[in-house]
């Protein structure tokens, strides 16, 4: 299956699954005993945060792979991952803020999790900014890799912040023995994670492919040629594909 078909399959499945999530979240599941109607935000907020983490994870993996192999396709993937992570980190902050207003009576708190998530957002924006600085493709990839790896260090801090510090943010919902969510609420929440992961995969393929085409158009395939030379020198392999086939 080529990446264009994979991207479309993930997009279609993602839209269908998220459609089901919206119907379940807004019309089928009932209000919560404690949170009332605002529990419906839980079908979006944790999934957007999960997708933001996934974006940083993919970008960090691709950045390390680029640093080891110097294959420019890894940099294209890293650029795509950190960009999508920035979008989903923004959405996690926005949905959290909208949920916080009626439940905490505040749009914003300098809580450890919210603060560390905000830091992740600015690190993602920083990575995207250094990718646009003047310089060669290699300089861009190296600068981006450094900032992406800094962002990746922040992810476990965000995740464990509710355990490490006194936090207003509620603790972990799923990864605990006495789980506080079950039944249709749990199913809808898990389904939203699946749906957002599918959409994330579709966007990741699309954006990585676009990054490559933009490099090819701007540098006449120079980056790919340099990448292939390096791959040959290190015993790896690199391939060039045409638009529409990858």
């Amino acid at each position: 299956m080529n990446s264009q078909i994979a991207s479309r399959v993930c997009a279609v499945l993602g839209v269908v699954v998220l459609g089901v999530v919206v119907v379940l979240g807004l019309f089928v599941t009932g209000p919560d005993v404690v949170q009332g109607e605002y529990v419906r935000m839980i079908y979006l907020h944790p999934a957007t945060a999960w997708t933001a983490y996934s974006g940083v994870g993919v970008a960090a993996f691709a950045s390390i792979a680029w640093l080891r192999t110097r294959k420019i396709s890894w940099d294209h993937l890293a650029g795509a991952g950190i960009e999508i992570s920035a979008v989903f980190t923004f959405l996690a902050l926005v949905t959290g803020s909208i949920w916080g207003r009626p439940t905490w009576n505040s749009w914003w708190q300098w809580d450890p999790r919210i603060t560390s998530t905000t830091l992740l957002f600015f690190l993602s924006i920083g990575a995207l900014t250094v990718r646009r600085l003047d310089g060669t493709i290699e300089q861009r990839a190296r600068r981006s890799a450094v900032v992406v790896l800094l962002a990746a260090v922040n992810v476990p801090i965000i995740h464990f912040s509710v355990d490490w510090w006194r936090s207003l943010h509620q603790g972990r919902t799923l990864a605990r023995v006495d789980r506080t969510i079950s039944g249709l609420q749990l199913s809808t929440m898990l389904l939203s994670i699946v749906g957002f992961t599918l959409v994330f995969s579709a966007l990741l393929i699309l954006r990585a492919r676009t990054n490559r085409w933009e490099d090819e158009a701007a540098h006449g395939g120079l980056g790919e040629a340099v990448s292939m030379r390096r791959a040959e020198a290190t015993g790896g392999s690199a391939t060039v594909a045409q638009p529409g086939t990858v």
């Binding site: 907020h45 926005v94 909208i98 699309l206 085409w213």
Partner: protein, 44 residues
């Protein structure tokens, strides 16, 4: 329900806008690559 509706609109509105922008950018980049390639039978 106002806050909930605002949350759902924010998420799916932002995702829709970002996806639309990504597709447009992808099509533009593909067209640029195709335009930069020589016609069949010609050296670049």
């Amino acid at each position: 329900m106002g806050y909930v509706a605002a949350g759902y609109l924010a998420v799916f509105g932002t995702l829709g806008a970002y996806t639309g922008w990504a597709i447009t950018k992808s099509r533009r980049a593909a067209a640029q690559v195709l335009a930069s390639q020589p016609p069949p039978g010609e050296e670049r």
